[in-house]
Amino acid sequence: MAKRHGDDIALCLVALVLACTLIFLVVPIIISAGMSFDARPYLAPFPPPDLSLQWYERFFSDPYMLRGLRTSLVLAFTATCVSTAIGTVTAFVIDRYEFRGKEVMTAFFLSPLVVPGVVVGFALLLFLSFVGVFDGFARLLAGHVIITIPYTIRTTLAGLVGIPPSLSEAALSLGATERQAFWDITFPLAKTGIVAGAVFAFAFSMDDVAVSMFLTDPTTYTLPVALISMMRANFDLSIAAAALLLIGVTLALILVLDRVVGLDKVIGQGIYRG
């Protein structure tokens, strides 16, 4: 009897903690989504008495924000393409071939995952000024490529591990060249891992603040950097509108991920940092 009693209490306690956690995780986001439709012209307590789209209008008519949004999208797209190309090739070589120093090299390629973003940004800033790279976009691209490559290498590696090498060996023994074996056999099978890596790269590039803060210049800055400086100045609700926009981007990426990989499978893959 005592045993069951203890179990009941423990179960209730755990259920209570989990319920509170869910509230903590979800409710703030609902609040800021709701506030973005606030009709009042100033920041006032939740809930908004009237709804309007004024904050969205304000966000989309603010040249400062739009410039940040455009830079962010172009940058995330370019960085994703570069990282995915480099990551795919690298993961393929690591997975298929034996060479000296392979372990060290793999660890080196995954190392940005444990280097704090601020350190990457600061170090890159000093180095790029030292060698004379002052173009804002080039500097941002350098930073975003280095922080996204580990994700593309990791997820591509995870995708390649499941493909038996015997398949491409069979193609080779039947007379295919290495290039044909790669493009006709390995690449189509590894596509899910590659796309997943690209999705991660895009998401992390769109979200980065710590690295970008150091590498922006007055005319080239990303949306998160613009939002942060706005947040520090005043807590305008057009940030809430931008937040809802970013949530939309997140959901779109999740849908892509589900379509391509299936969310269940992501669990077994390298989405965890570190």
């Binding site: 903590f24 609040i31 800021s32 390629f109 704090p116 170090a123 280095i146 947040m231 970013l246 965890y272």
Partner: protein, 283 residues
């Protein structure tokens, strides 16, 4: 397959990117961190003499506050995230209802993908000066200017990312623990909570350690969360590095701090991975 020279050429782009954009810059800040800084300049002079001054400055009592805040709040957040993430992962991992399982995992992944800006902004709208909780706080007589309160808001900011992350990491771990073992303990008379505490938890200890390790390294290098939610009162080492750069252009000082943060992060990763390997693989 043995690698030929042409296949190794394929590693050139990645190697070049990492050497140019990571290794050189990091060596450069190590070098910079030993240079003498003259206040008022931007960075160090090209012919500045080498000195240990930037490192001895790290030992100033004024800095200890930052280290202590960073490592303490990071630790608290990581422990809480594990305590909540484990049962959460357990529920998801053992869910029989396929669609529910898929939706839960999708929900956790969506939370992880959420932009950090959305997080801090939403939490500020909830816990901040115009927040929903304001009447509650006033009723409980908690001042929002209180340092302890601000610290907990920062912890909340960290938790918002690392709870879903720990839970997702642990789902995979718990899936690999045979449920029959805990059932056996229960049929031999153990209470359910005790069976989990003595069977399920020890069997997933490697996953738990790695979830902790990931959370902790993420927390101590957090930048946006303390910057926005800390309101200038609760600052982490990352914020200090940024201030060295943006406010007083003391690059050597920022470099020595960066080197310290980097070394500590790498050390934690190394130590914990050693411990977990030795303890649980019998090596």
């Amino acid at each position: 397959m043995k690698a030929t020279r042409t296949t190794l050429l394929l590693l050139v782009p990645a190697t070049a990117a990492f050497v140019l954009l990571l290794a050189f810059p990091l060596f450069n800040i190590v070098n910079e961190s030993f240079k003498l800084f003259v206040p008022g300049r931007v960075g160090s002079a090209e012919d500045a003499p080498y000195t240990l001054q930037n490192y001895s400055e790290l030992l100033l009592p004024a800095y200890f506050n930052y280290y202590f805040t960073t490592f303490r709040l990071g630790f608290l957040a990581s422990v809480i995230a594990l305590a909540i993430g484990f049962p959460m992962a357990y529920v998801v991992a053992r869910m029989r209802w396929e669609l529910g399982r898929k939706l839960s995992i999708g929900f956790l992944i969506a939370l992880m993908f959420l932009s950090v800006l959305v997080r801090v902004y939403s939490l500020e709208l909830t816990f901040g000066s115009v927040g929903v909780l304001r009447p509650v706080l006033r009723f409980l007589d908690i001042s929002q200017n209180d340092r302890t309160y601000t610290e907990w808001v920062v912890i909340a900011g960290l938790l918002h990312y690392i709870i879903p992350m720990s839970a997702l990491t642990l789902v995979g771990t718990i899936q690999n623990v045979n449920p029959r073992l805990a059932e056996a303990a229960m049929s031999l008379g153990a209470a359910r909570w005790k069976a989990h505490l003595t069977v399920t938890v020890p069997l997933s200890i490697r996953g738990i350690l790695s979830a902790f390790l990931i959370s902790y390294t993420l927390c101590i290098s957090a930048f946006v969360v303390p910057m926005v939610l800390g309101k200038g009162r609760v600052l982490f080492v990352s914020n200090l590095i940024y201030n060295r750069f943006s406010e007083i252009a003391n690059y050597p000082g920022g470099s020595s701090l960066s080197v310290m943060l980097l070394v500590v992060s790498l050390l934690i990763v190394y130590l914990i991975s050693r411990i977990s390997i030795r303890r649980w693989e019998g090596g």
